[in-house]
Symmetry: C2
Subunit: 361 residues, 2 copies
């Protein structure tokens, strides 16, 4: 039996070990029903309890106000890139998109075939190394919503404030979901894939201001309609049973850790350790992003040479710290330290970075 | 530890026990990598092997010709109801839909908001108790495809032949997927949710004639584009890793059983046992469907009175045979005997039906 490694992958990524062990234990015979949860009808009482517990915990842990609904929808954040404009826009309104990196650009490119959507800011000039100030955003007339990406997984930047622009926000929070509080008043819709902070890949969790469902589009195919998913409590069609079940387990783990506040404190503490290691390395390690926009989830850093980066990654892997390679589009190194990454993993990486620097500078 | 029950549920439904046990064993530490498969990057070598094995086995087991591609797409068959017309239709062509029951009707209702689609036949007159003869189908001009539902899960009817109409077929095979051979020449596209014959809920498997991708629509959001899923080998965005993994395991199990031929023979044998029990019951049990359209997967039957049906279901449950209730929209009883239902389960039900009849007639 190999020892468990520290997995710094950007997603799918490390999950809480107790969650995995519990799921393993009950995998074949769920609650002594003589079958696996995977084999149970989604209309039966066992799954119904699992499903509603996950819904309730989602709202509770994320501290969503009572005028928000939570939806579970397959297709990840990418399908939400399509569903948001399909449901919220029509011929008389448009949407602004903040192009803060790979994911913000993807969201706009999926909106444009189905609705009127424009770039409200493009970070190309800085190489997508910072988030915009509110004053830099161009909001046009008849803007139904401003779409932001709360944390850019690849670029390693995040909003350190929620923009205040007079139009409702829609946010893709995939890569820092439920790691900090949200100014709910500013948002009409928040979505994200589960495969970073919330569980395995296989679905998106969507929080939507319930009253806007009165005006969402209905002349689209049913799977794409928020109003139907909400009316049917995400059981309009067969839900992704295992994804919902694992989400519930991860949320229970988060609750036991102290909920959103504890996740936020841990994220601040863990990211501070790594940024201090970088900042105190006399330039051996270098963060390419604007200090004011530094992500607390995806710590991107470079070494003096690409050959050293290669060696760093190889030696880290041998030391049981894996998936530290930066995204293929940007290179370098990236430590993703999501909610489930224990502080021991971050400290082990800190020590390794110090050791490696001593050997090579 | 409760004994394993016989689960006659219509989906999610019984899975092969060896598959569940194997998945349980490797759940926390996959291939001694020090992490779960759920935590692995979908770009890593371990998952890549799992993914491509599932793709290859899908094509192999279903005996798909080399000019077909296989795609894994989240959202179940229901999202395919939207994707098929979004990709295949345009202003100058339309599609015919066979309304053979709940699912055929659903497919048409999701096509109509996005394209020109019409009913080629409606089984309402017979209460959706039979499939049409080819001569009953009305195919209009400029018909790009005829959409059929190979097996209607709720009504308990199936096509016993593949229609021959001069236009390409598109089929929803969710509830009898990979349980019989297909006349591939007649089809441009076959899809189905995994949660009956192929694994847990959470994705659809789509077989598409590769050359038609040259002419599918590209001016739609990326998640909805078949051409992109095919070009990226279903890794355009993070795939539903666990669903693909379980699909692969179920397909390996099917292969070990003897593949498609063995699945077909088992389906014929298992369904014959139950239909004979019904037909030889002197009217105590009654099949409401046309004998020529009887499903081999979902055996729908009635008892003389609703109160007897209730008692039948209660006593069957106590005897370890569960989920025999018909769909809430039609009532009665339904035994779903998918690929993973062992013949022992069917024989146990046969004996129980005989015993129950003796006690109550």
């Amino acid at each position: 039996m190999t020892e468990r490694v520290y997995n710094f992958g950007a997603g799918p990524c490390t999950l809480p070990l107790p969650v995995l062990e519990e799921a393993q234990k009950e995998f074949v015979n769920f609650q002594n029903a003589g079958m696996s949860l995977l084999e149970m009808s989604h209309r039966g009482k066992e799954y119904d309890a699992v499903h509603h517990e996950a819904m309730d915990l989602s709202l509770e842990i994320f501290q969503a106000p009572s005028d928000f609904s939570v939806l579970f929808i397959q297709g990840g954040a990418t399908l939400q890139f399509a569903m948001v404009p399909l449901n919220l826009l029509n011929d008389s309104v448009q949407a602004g998109y903040v192009l803060s990196g790979h994911w913000g650009k993807g969201a706009l490119s999926d909106a444009q075939p189905v609705a009127n959507a424009y770039s409200a800011w493009d970070g190309a000039e800085s190489g997508y190394t910072r988030m915009p100030a509110d004053s830099e955003l161009s909001i046009e007339d008849q803007t139904r919503y401003l779409h932001i990406t709360s944390n850019e997984t690849i670029g390693g930047i995040r909003y350190n404030h929620w923009p205040d622009t007079g139009v409702p926000l829609v946010a893709d929070m995939s890569s820092d979901y439920m790691s900090r509080p949200v100014d709910w008043d500013k948002f009409d819709l928040i979505y994200g894939g589960t495969q970073k902070n919330l569980g395995p890949a296989g679905m998106a969790v969507v929080f939507i201001r319930t009253k806007i469902l009165d005006n969402t589009n209905r002349d689209i195919p049913r799977y794409l309609r928020y109003d139907l998913h909400q009316a049917k409590e995400s059981m309009f069609n067969t839900p992704p049973v295992f994804s919902v079940y694992m989400l519930g387990k991860v949320l229970k783990w988060m609750k036991a850790q102290g909920g959103l506040q504890a996740m936020q404190e841990a994220a601040e503490k863990k990211s501070r350790i790594l940024y201090e290691t970088i900042d105190n390395s006399n330039g051996f390690y270098r963060s390419p992003v604007d200090p004011a926009s530094r992500s607390l989830m995806n710590i991107v850093f470079r070494l003096p040479e690409e050959s050293l980066e290669k060696q760093f990654l190889e030696e880290a892997t041998r030391a049981g710290m894996v998936q530290l390679k930066g995204h293929r589009s940007v290179g370098g190194c990236r430590a993703s330290i999501y909610n489930a990454m224990p502080i021991e993993g971050v400290k082990a990486l800190q020590e390794f970075m110090g050791r490696f620097q001593k050997q090579h500078s």
